[in-house]
């Protein structure tokens, strides 16, 4: 097999080369280990850009497909099947983009067991890329579950004081969802005779039409898949693992957790739930919208009440991902493409917020908002960047968050106009309620910014001085870590068209398939 004719395989498994090198490096050469991991992830990012150049955005189907028989004996029909389309290309790029940034952020933050850290981090990238690219349910499940293992170690070894509790909770909570999905995967695999996702979509729709799978079973399958994904997103009320995992995780872990791992949940809905169980999707859409809206408002309200800044950012994820879910389950082109873009936006903004919180925490070792104050004067660069990221997170026009949220709200508003989804309540109501979430986001984000960066100087400044070194502004490495994200925050905010173009044909195809399923149902 020529690897260069298999760009997706090459990209997914290239980090393993880095893991292999890391295994044989001495564990006391910390900088060599860091550079190895960084270079590995940068090359992976390079490969993903190469993939992007080969990606044809006009094509709504899977591209660059690698498809080989894997386990096809003894009645099995499992394939090694990878492919990328408009739904996943941005998430793949987000993954390869955030990984080197996260590694860069650990340069001075992780001093213990650097070798193990880099190995787990690099393994994690393999798992994440596999999740977004796998087109066979068995393969997908392997990648999906595998991502838990390195993340579990990252939280459990390098996390905060309650890291072990958080790591186990994270593992068990997410596994609880996955096992239901495992049964559903087996069930559809047995019924349809294949695990290949594109074939499944075709086979299943035939089985729905012929009544081989009745609507009730379809709904149960939908729920089983949704259980796995909703926990990952996390949707209210299944979010309680998230604050623990986020608060205890090391900074780089939080960035990847928020930036990529949560997107695996929303992506799962998009890739599996909606196309494979279209009728159940339409039936469940109002309920998902309800949960999403509750999540938006609940997440925002709880964020406001936090005294720990990392927890505040963690709960804001619940709120932001509520928007993503609302947009996707508006089930129209605007909603879905807004949802996808908002996944990327959230990865960038929240990733950056976690990075910034990590940078200040590294100096002060506290995340209590109340001990800070007047930081902008002392650390102007840090303060300015924080302001941009905060504004992006709350959806200020001109920055990326606005574009995503606005498109989602448009989509949600339009949902149900054609009498289809979101009945009995029109989409207008959901859009209206969720818009409340935008306002609340402005409140908790600005309130946080005000308490930490404006006003009189906080006690922590003197506290740090007592230990012999004053609070310093960002250094070049830290600026280098954050600036790439800032570029995209502005780019998406000012000119989002190229991003929408990447996904548009795939989204249109998906919506058309949904409408066909809805027609068939009536």
């Amino acid at each position: 097999m020529n690897f260069f004719s298999e760009p997706l395989t090459l990209m997914t498994f290239f980090p393993l080369v880095g893991v292999l090198v890391l295994l044989f490096l001495p564990s006391d050469k910390k900088n060599v280990l860091r550079w190895t991991a960084l270079v590995t992830s940068l090359i992976t990012f390079g490969i993903s850009l190469w993939v992007l150049t080969m990606f044809r955005s006009a094509n709504p189907d899977l591209q660059l497909v690698a498809k080989y028989d894997w386990i096809t004996v003894a009645g099995w029909n499992i394939q090694y099947h990878m492919g990328v389309d408009g739904l996943s290309i941005l998430l793949v790029l987000l993954t390869t983009f955030l990984t080197p940034i996260s590694i860069l952020s650990t340069w001075t933050a992780v001093e213990e067991r650097v070798k193990d850290f880099m190995i787990f981090f690099t393994l994690l990238e393999v798992g994440m890329l596999g999740v977004f690219l796998a087109q066979d349910l068995f393969l997908f499940y392997i990648f999906w579950e595998f991502t838990l293992v390195p993340m579990y170690f990252l939280i459990g070894i390098w996390g905060g004081p309650r890291r072990i509790y958080a790591a186990i909770k994270f593992f068990l909570y997410t596994m609880a969802g996955s096992i239901l999905m495992l049964l559903a995967i087996l069930f559809v695999g047995i019924q349809a005779g294949t695990f290949s996702v594109p074939d499944l979509a075709a086979n299943l729709s035939g089985m729905y039409a012929s009544g081989l799978i009745d609507p009730k079973t379809q709904m149960m399958l939908f729920v089983a898949f949704a259980a796995a994904f909703a926990i990952k997103v996390p949707m209210w009320p299944l979010h309680s693992w998230l604050p623990d995992a986020h608060v205890e995780a090391p900074t780089a872990g939080s960035v990847i957790l928020a930036g990529v791992l949560l997107k695996m949940g929303t992506y799962g809905f998009l890739r599996f739930n909606i196309p494979l169980f279209p009728n159940a999707t339409i039936a469940a859409a109002p309920w998902i919208a309800l949960l999403a809206t509750i999540g938006i408002i609940y997440g925002a309200a709880v964020s406001y009440a936090q005294s720990d800044v990392k927890k505040l950012v963690a709960y804001s994820s619940v709120s932001h991902l509520g928007f993503v879910m609302l947009g996707m389950f508006a089930l129209n082109a605007q909603g879905i493409s807004g949802g996808i873009l908002q996944m990327v936006n959230h990865g960038l903004s929240t990733g950056a917020l976690f990075l910034l919180v990590g940078m200040i925490y590294e100096q002060t070792h506290t995340r209590e908002i109340k001990v800070y104050g007047g930081l902008w004067k002392i650390t102007p660069v840090f303060g300015s960047i924080m302001l941009i990221v905060a504004l992006s997170s709350m959806g200020l026009p001109g920055l990326n968050g606005f574009v995503g949220e606005f498109t989602i709200l448009l989509g949600a508003w339009g949902a149900g106009m054609d009498g289809g989804s979101f009945a009995p309540m029109g989409g207008v109501w959901w859009a209206g309620l969720s818009a409340l979430g935008v306002i609340m986001a402005a409140i908790y984000i600005l309130f946080m910014f005000q308490r930490m960066f404006l006003g009189p100087q906080g006690e922590i400044v003197d506290e740090v001085k007592k230990h012999g070194h004053a609070l310093r502004d960002l250094n070049w490495r830290e600026i280098l870590t954050i600036v790439p994200i800032l570029i995209f925050i502005f780019w998406i905010g000012l000119y989002p068209a190229p991003f929408f173009n990447l996904m548009a044909p795939a989204v249109d195809k998906m919506v058309a398939a949904l409408q066909a399923a809805a027609m068939a149902m009536h």
Partner: protein, 478 residues
């Protein structure tokens, strides 16, 4: 008169029996300090027999001794597995018995005789042979369990195992008697041919046989002996017993039930369903609170008996039975591989006087012995059923078979208990990676070899399980 073709049927068995008998004599002339020669000879015997068994793979099925024994794909597959278990059992014991001051030549000959019993069990085609094989495999294990005779725990283990074993054999024999009463024959094929398709006597007989083997494979509620016996026995014996005895017990159950009692499936399916569910739930719940690694793994082995029992539940449904039996066989392989690795790590950590066996003794292992800790992590993930390990592939196969049989709730119990099991398996990982400690580890070549090979096989075979799938599904009972 037996024909030469009769011996052809039990050729591997004959070779190993002769080898074991000769070894018993040879061992007398091997000086006390040179017992490694006995071990090597025992391993060589197992290896030769394994070679002969593998040569039989894919050959035609045959019966011998007037239908008392049978040699077919099923028996060849499981014989090969038993022999591999025997080899790994020798490798586990090689350094351990010396270190613990238990090095006596009988250890290895007893192990060989036990393997012979297991192989006979797999080949038995008559209830009398099943009974003989059961005794043949059990008696050496009773002795092995009590092999550390200066330790009261080991004595207790042997005695408990013996008493419970005798008790359970009683059930089997009584069951055989009832079946004979109902059908007038003890031959498995004969029972099927001459049986009244159901009938109370036959049902009770079959149920009693199930109870007897329920003890052997440690299914709830017949599991009470397991933790004590596993804990008290020398660890190298426990590792061997956990895999070997379980495989033999399941092989006999599969053979007897699907050859002789398919007609009873209507009644038996519900019983097996309940047994499987109880075993999964009980084993996993009881394992949670264990602080001793041997006891934890003992309960884990009970739990896994429950998973394997799942494969029996659809045995009466001719559409699903082949798939589910193949899934059961595959899971046995996955379990055996993982099991030997895990027990290998336990042996590496064990100190004299039974120290080093608490889970808390594993603290800091990842820092001091990263490879060993990584291997143990692989085994724990495999026991949970997590990628990238053989345990996941095994469970995938098993749950698929159960779902194909329409037993959705059993599959749900299976996955939920897997989730529960993640908690206690992860505790070992947590201790190794996230707690500080100064553990010391015994490095012995064959021990390292055992857990290293197991870890490698657990991971690599999960990506290329095709050959095993083919073997397991061609090892079906005709």
């Amino acid at each position: 008169m037996p024909q030469s073709s009769d011996f052809q049927t039990i050729l591997p068995l004959t070779i190993l029996t002769v080898w074991a008998c000769v070894l018993l004599l040879v061992d007398l002339f091997i000086p006390k300090t040179q017992k490694w020669i006995t071990a090597t000879l025992a391993a060589a015997g197992l290896a030769v027999t394994l070679g002969v068994t593998l040569a039989q793979l894919g050959g035609p099925a045959s019966t011998g001794f007037s239908g008392m024994v049978v040699q077919d794909g099923f028996s060849t597959f499981l014989n090969a597995l038993q022999l591999v278990c025997g080899l790994l059992g020798v490798a586990l014991a090689f350094g351990y018995v010396k270190r613990m001051g238990l090095e006596r030549g009988e250890y290895y000959t007893l192990l060989l005789f036990s393997v012979i019993g297991m192989m006979l069990m797999v080949q038995a085609a008559d209830l009398i042979m099943v009974f003989l094989a059961l005794e043949m495999l059990s008696i050496p294990l009773y002795v092995l369990a009590a092999f550390n005779r200066t330790q009261s725990a080991s004595e207790e283990s042997g005695l408990k195992y013996f008493l419970l074993g005798a008790f359970s054999t009683g059930f089997v024999v009584y069951g055989i008697a009832l079946v004979f009463g109902a059908t007038g024959t003890t031959n498995l094929a004969g029972i099927l041919a001459s049986a009244p398709t159901s009938g109370l006597l036959l049902t009770i007989g079959a149920a009693l046989i199930l109870v007897g083997f329920g003890f052997k494979v440690a299914a709830v509620p017949f599991h009470m002996w397991t933790p004590d016996v596993y804990q008290g026995a020398p660890t190298s014996v426990t590792g061997f017993m956990a895999a070997g005895a379980k495989i033999a017990g399941f092989a006999a159950l599969l053979r007897v039930f699907s050859t002789a009692f398919p007609a009873l499936a209507v009644d038996m399916t519900d019983i097996l369903w309940a047994l499987s569910a109880l075993t999964m739930i009980g084993g996993n719940l009881l394992a949670i609170s264990q602080s001793d690694i041997k006891r934890m793994l003992a309960y884990s082995s009970i739990a896994h008996a429950g998973y394997i029992l799942m494969a029996f539940v659809p045995y009466g449904n001719p559409d699903v039975a082949p798939v589910s039996i193949a899934a059961g066989l595959f899971y046995l392989v996955a379990y055996a591989v993982t099991n030997f690795g895990a027990w290998g790590v336990v042996i590496a950590m064990e100190k004299s006087e039974g120290r080093g066996l608490a889970i808390s003794d594993y603290a800091g292992l990842a820092k001091k012995h990263p490879v060993l800790a990584a291997a143990m992590t692989v085994f724990m993930l495999s026991l949970i059923g997590f990628p990238p390990t053989l345990g996941l592939v095994g469970k995938f196969y098993l749950f698929r078979a159960v779902l194909s049989g329409g037993f959705v709730w059993l599959a749900v119990i299976g996955v939920v208990t897997s989730l529960i099991s993640a908690y206690y398996y992860l505790r070992v990982v947590v201790t190794m990676y996230m707690h500080e400690g100064e553990p010391t580890v015994e490095r012995e070549f064959w021990l390292d070899f055992t857990w290293g090979l197991s870890a490698l096989a657990t991971v690599v075979l999960s990506f290329i399980p095709q050959a095993l799938f083919v073997m397991a599904s061609s090892a079906l009972l005709k």
